[in-house]
Amino acid sequence: MRKESSFAAVLSAVVLVCSGALILNQKVSAAGEGKISGTVRLDGPAPHMKGIEMSKDPYCAKAHANEPAHLEQVVVGSNGGLQNVVLYITEGLPASALAEAPKEVLVFDQKNCMYTPHVLAMDAGQTFKVTSSDQTTHNIHPLPNPMTGNIPWNQSQPPGAAPIEKSWKAPEVIPVKCNIHPWMNGWHVVVKGPYAVTDGSGNYSINNVPPGNYAVTAWQELYGTQTQKVTVAAGKAGTADFTFKAK
C-alpha cells in the first residue's frame, strides 16, 4: 500500500510536470534547469597582435593617443584563459528549447573606433542594437552568406544617431566591418539555443540548460571549433573545459 501510494505520488508529479511543460510550450527557464560551465584556455604562447594605426580618422587616433589599440583575434588573460570564445550546444537540445529566442536585447557598441564586444553571440531571432559612443561616423557592414537566409546590410551611423536594431534569422558566424575604418572588425556569432561567451579569464557558463546529454561546441575566430560531450543532471552543472593550441 505504501509502495503504491509513493508510486502514485511520483507518477502524478511526472504527469503534472509534463502537462505543465506542454501548457507552457516548455519555455526554457530558470526553475530546475542546469547549466554547463567551464574554462577555455590557450596552450602555448599567445600570438603577437599587431598594433592598429588609426591616423586616417583624427578622432580615433586621439582616442588611442597614449597607447595604440591592438588586434583582438586572440585575447589571453593572465592564467591562459581565452576571451571571446563562443560556447553553444550543437546536439541534444529538445526542439522545445529552441523554440523561442531570449527577450534580452544585446548591445554592440562602437567605442574608440573598436567594436565592443569584439565577439557578440546571440540566438537566432534575438534582437541586438548597434550603438555608437564615438564622435565620428561609423558604417556597420555585416557580411553574412546570403545562402543562409541572413540578409546582408550596410548602414552608416553618424555621431548621435539612433541605435540600429536588428536580428539575424539563421545560425551563422558573421564578420562585421566598418567601411570607413578598415581596421574595425567584429563578429556576430548566431546560434540556436542557449550560448555563452568566455570572459577575460576564459570562464563561461551556459545557463538554462535542461538536464540531458549534450555536445557543446567552442568557437574561436582564429582557431576554429572544438566539440565535447557533457551531461547535465537535474540542478547540477555539467563541466566542459576546452584547450586551444596556439599556432
Binding site: 599587431k50 592598429i52 586616417k56 588586434l71 583575434q73 558604417n139 578598415p182 572588425n185
Partner: protein
C-alpha cells in the same frame, strides 16, 4: 531695356573676375620641387582665359548697346565674308590658344612623367582600396616582398597580403596607414589599386594621379616643406569615397627615422 542688359553683362563679367584676380580661392601653397612650372601654367591659363572671357563680354555688351534697336529700314550687317569666314576665324583663334597652352603645359607635365626618378630616390608603395590608403616601406633589406592577394585580410591587418610566416623579405616590410617622408628627399611612389579606380591627390605637392586597377603606376616628387598634408581620393570609388583619405607627414630626417622605428614596433 537693351542698355540695361548690356550693363548687367558688364557688371557680372567684372564681378566674376575680381575673386580670380585677387586669388581668393587660389591653390594651396606649393611644397614640391616640380610645382613651379605647373603653377605658372595655371596662371597663364587663367590669364589667357580671363582676358578672352572679359574681351568677349565687353564686345557682347558693346554690340547689344549699339545695335539692339535698329532703326526701321536699316540693313543688318553680317560678319565680313559671311558665316563660313566667321567659323574659320573662331576655329583659328581658339585653336591657336589651345595649341599654345598645350605646348607649354606638356612641358610642365613631361617634367614629372617623362623623367625617371634618380637612383637615390626613396621607394614607397601605396595601395588604394575601398576606402583607405595603405603605404609600404621596404624596411632595412630595401626589398618589397611579393604580394599574395589571397592573404589580404583587413581583419588581421594584412593589407598587402604579406606571407610573414614563410617569406623573410616580408618580415621587415613596414605597412602604415599614414605616409611619412623625409623633407628634401626624392620619393619614388609605386602605386597600385586593390579593387577599383582611385586617385592620389595632394594639392600642396601638385600631384594628382589616378590608380587604375591592374596597372602599376609610379610617380616621383620631392617635398620641400615640413608639415602634415591631406591625401585625398578624387575618383568616385563607392559609398565611402567621401571618407577616403590619409595624411602625408613631411618630416625632418631625424623625425622620419624616429617615426619609422615607431611604425616598425607596431607591425
Amino acid at each position: 531695356m537693351a542698355k540695361f542688359f548690356a550693363i548687367t553683362i558688364l557688371v557680372i563679367a567684372i564681378l566674376s573676375a575680381i575673386p580670380i584676380l585677387r586669388h581668393t580661392w587660389w591653390m594651396a601653397e606649393d611644397i614640391s620641387t616640380h610645382g613651379a612650372p605647373i603653377d605658372e601654367q595655371m596662371s597663364e591659363t587663367m590669364a589667357e582665359a580671363g582676358i578672352s572671357f572679359l574681351a568677349s563680354q565687353f564686345i557682347l555688351a558693346f554690340f547689344i548697346w549699339k545695335f539692339s534697336n535698329p532703326r526701321p529700314g536699316e540693313k543688318i550687317k553680317n560678319f565680313p565674308g559671311g558665316a563660313k569666314a566667321m567659323v574659320w576665324a573662331a576655329v583659328l583663334l581658339v585653336g591657336t590658344e589651345v595649341l599654345a597652352l598645350g605646348v607649354f603645359g606638356a612641358k610642365a607635365w613631361a617634367n614629372v612623367y617623362f623623367t625617371p626618378p634618380s637612383s637615390s630616390a626613396m621607394p614607397v608603395q601605396v595601395q588604394s582600396g575601398q576606402f583607405a590608403f595603405y603605404f609600404r616601406y621596404p624596411g632595412p633589406d630595401g626589398k618589397f616582398a611579393p604580394i599574395h592577394p589571397e592573404l589580404i585580410s583587413e581583419s588581421t591587418q594584412n593589407f598587402y597580403g604579406l606571407d610573414t610566416n614563410n617569406d623573410p623579405d616580408a618580415k621587415d616590410d613596414i605597412v602604415t596607414a599614414e605616409m611619412a617622408i623625409p623633407v628634401n628627399r626624392e620619393i619614388h611612389l609605386l602605386m597600385h589599386s586593390k579593387d577599383v579606380g582611385h586617385s592620389f591627390f595632394v594639392p600642396e605637392l601638385r600631384v594628382q594621379q589616378d590608380f587604375v586597377p591592374g596597372l602599376d603606376l609610379s610617380l616621383h616628387f620631392t617635398a620641400t616643406k615640413v608639415g602634415r598634408y591631406e591625401i585625398v581620393c578624387t575618383q568616385l570609388c563607392g559609398l565611402g569615397h567621401y571618407n577616403m583619405k590619409a595624411y602625408l607627414s613631411v618630416l625632418s630626417q631625424q623625425d622620419f627615422d624616429d617615426w619609422m622605428k615607431k611604425e616598425a614596433a607596431m607591425q
